[in-house]
């Protein structure tokens, strides 16, 4: 296997949706890469294009609503060959999905089919990709449930989703996703719908499974606390573009883009003694980024973050700045922060 080529390489991906009111450029030139066994967190607020990026990788953009209009998504398969996901047919993609690329969704309460047992749902995916008898698939399913630390796995196989708690269902989803040992796992806000203690358990589980299987994880979230916990590298998205990316430690220590700084300042408890005023005896005020994301139908001509940026000036309105390299893998899309 050639380890020089990354597991996943997304380059200048553009996914647009065509609505009666105009073209929505949900993802407009996103690039990132992910090595085997690595965790890349994609961070951004709602509408920043992070989920659309992941659906583009899976080939699950509904064809009547939108499509990938440009860029490339290269994926290194198990046999070492590199394939271009944007040019594959649905049939070819289906053989990859659930097999080499798997996905865990945000809401475990609605991700499992309510009328099929846990065992049937696990066995379905296993039999589609690995073949074999139903009995063998169910045995495999039970091993998967044990792997994701579900107690009394044998009994759970015969149960229906509504009989499980949210945390248990998310474990089942992870078992489903990992049942064919994918080399890439896309986790789309897998802990958002869970309460905090269960969140921590699920994150620990994902980290343990990653160590054991060497799966690359694309972790989509808006929770920077989770990012610090799990990610090796971070890509911050805003308005369909990556505005900053880099190593998680460096990015948290020295955010370059004003948006990243704003996001970090929004975290409660991070601004002791810093910019936020702390009046004696009062709690520090929660910082917020003023304004809201520009309408995707009428994006600003220049930097997408300019209308909300405290540092904006005339040049920001002229053109979208390019991603500037700051060395050691960190880059940001802001003219004020350019190294020169």
């Amino acid at each position: 296997m050639n380890h020089a080529t990354p597991l996943l390489e997304v380059e200048h991906l553009q996914t647009h949706f065509f609505t009666p009111r105009g073209t929505v450029k949900s993802v407009d030139g996103v690039s990132f890469s992910l090595a085997a066994g690595e965790t890349l967190a994609v961070v951004g607020e709602s509408g920043s294009g992070k989920s659309v990026s992941s659906l583009s990788i899976m080939g699950l953009i509904p064809p009547d609503a939108g499509r990938i209009v440009g860029g490339s998504i290269r994926f290194r398969r198990r046999d070492g060959s590199v394939c271009e996901l944007t040019r594959m047919s649905q049939r070819e993609l289906r053989q990859l999905r659930g097999n080499e690329i798997a996905m865990v969704f945000q809401d475990p309460m609605s991700c499992l089919n309510p009328v099929l047992t846990i065992g049937d749902q696990l066995a379905e995916s296993i039999r589609i990709h690995l073949g074999g008898s139903r009995a063998a698939a169910l045995a495999h399913a039970q091993r998967m449930l044990e792997m994701v630390e579900i107690p009394a796995a044998a009994r759970r196989l015969g149960e229906y989703p509504h009989q499980l708690s949210g945390g248990m269902r998310q474990r089942v989803m992870i078992a489903l996703a990992l049942s064919c040992q994918p080399s890439l796992l896309i986790a789309d806000e897998p802990t958002t719908a869970l309460d905090v203690t269960v969140q921590a358990q699920i994150l620990a589980l994902l980290q343990r499974l990653q160590r054991e299987t060497g799966t690359g994880i694309l972790f989509i979230t808006h929770n920077l606390g989770v990012v610090a916990e799990i990610a090796d590298r971070v890509a911050v998205m805003y308005s369909g573009r990556v505005v900053e990316q880099g190593d998680v430690m460096e990015l948290f220590a020295q955010p370059r883009h004003p948006y990243t700084r704003g996001l970090l300042a929004c975290l409660p408890g991070r601004h002791h003694g810093s910019g936020a005023a702390r009046v004696a005896g009062e709690r520090p005020r929660l910082a917020a980024i003023p304004g809201q994301v520009a309408s995707p139908l009428a994006p600003p001509p220049g930097c997408a973050f300019e209308p909300r940026c405290a540092l904006a000036h005339a040049a920001c309105r002229a053109a979208m700045p390019e991603l500037a390299d700051f060395g050691s893998g960190q880059s940001a899309r802001c003219i004020l922060r350019s190294p020169q």
Partner: protein, 277 residues
């Protein structure tokens, strides 16, 4: 399977419905062995007799035993109902699933459905029978064509809802082929409305067959069905109301008990409802 049936029959209403259906079916099947009368032997001396020990449900205008005829009629009426439901369910489910799931097929299929539904049921059936010719099989065929659009419409509506649900997308993300998504994931979640609609169609089909027979377009008059019995008995209903009452009750009983069994089946097939049983 045994556990399934015992849970199904736990509720008294479902038990009653299942029992009634079984009794009706067995009696209809075994009537030649049970009844001393034939359904079509005329006995003018015994015409329009009130219910008595010899004729439990009385006799009709030709002196034929009403009980025997009702049970013989059950053979045809129940068979017509069951066949119409089966054909309409299969065709309607297929059309509805395709129309709801594949956006491209939606318009052609649903316009056809709209066109069929624009005509009143009985009028459409009459027109179809005028083309096909009157026979028992053609009645079934015509009624199946009449009721397929109802099923298609209901299945399409449920499919439109279910196909947007996250577990369908999750199934796609797991590489589940489209046909399995349609027939396992979506169909499995539309069973409730299908069963409810099927039990309606069964009742409607029995009534519509009665209507068609009444108009002389349905089953040939020598075959007793519940519909032909009501139709011919109507002329004498002021002297012999049992002629209408008995086959009418049979229709009500069959439709009602089927509805109860349908309800029970629906609750059994939905795991969320089953736990309340």
């Amino acid at each position: 399977m045994q556990a399934f049936i015992s849970t199904l029959l736990r509720r008294p209403l479902v038990r009653f419905g299942a029992l009634t259906l079984c009794v009706l079916t067995v009696l209809a099947a075994a009537v030649p062995l049970l009844s001393p009368y034939a359904p079509d032997t005329l006995d003018i001396g015994a015409r329009l007799l009130a219910p008595s020990a010899a004729h439990w449900f009385g006799t009709d205008e030709f002196g034929r035993d009403v009980l025997t005829r009702v049970l013989f009629g059950g053979r045809y009426s129940l068979a017509v109902g069951a066949l119409v439901v089966a054909i309409a369910a299969v065709c309607g489910v297929l059309m509805g699933l395709c129309a709801g799931f594949f956006a491209r097929l939606d318009t052609p299929i649903m316009r056809l459905v709209d066109a069929l539904m624009a005509l009143p049921d009985i009028l459409l059936a009459i027109a179809l029978l005028a083309i096909l010719g009157a026979s028992l099989m053609n009645v079934v065929l015509a009624l199946a064509i009449v009721y397929t659009p109802r099923m298609a419409r209901i299945v399409r509506a449920s499919t439109l809802v279910v196909r947007e649900l996250l577990y369908v997308e999750a199934a796609r993300a797991l590489g589940v082929p489209t046909w399995r998504i349609l027939f396992v994931h979506i169909l499995g979640n539309t069973v409730s409305p299908i069963l409810v609609q099927a039990s309606f169609i069964f009742a409607y089909a029995i009534l519509a067959e009665a209507g068609l027979s009444f108009l002389g377009l349905g089953v040939p008059p020598e075959l007793p069905t519940w519909g032909t019995m009501i139709a011919s008995g109507q002329n004498y209903s002021d002297q012999a109301m049992w002629l209408v009452l008995i086959p009418g009750l049979a229709i009500v009983l069959a439709a009602l008990s089927l509805q109860m069994v349908g309800d029970g089946l629906r609750d059994m097939l939905d795991p969320r409802l089953r736990q309340n049983l």
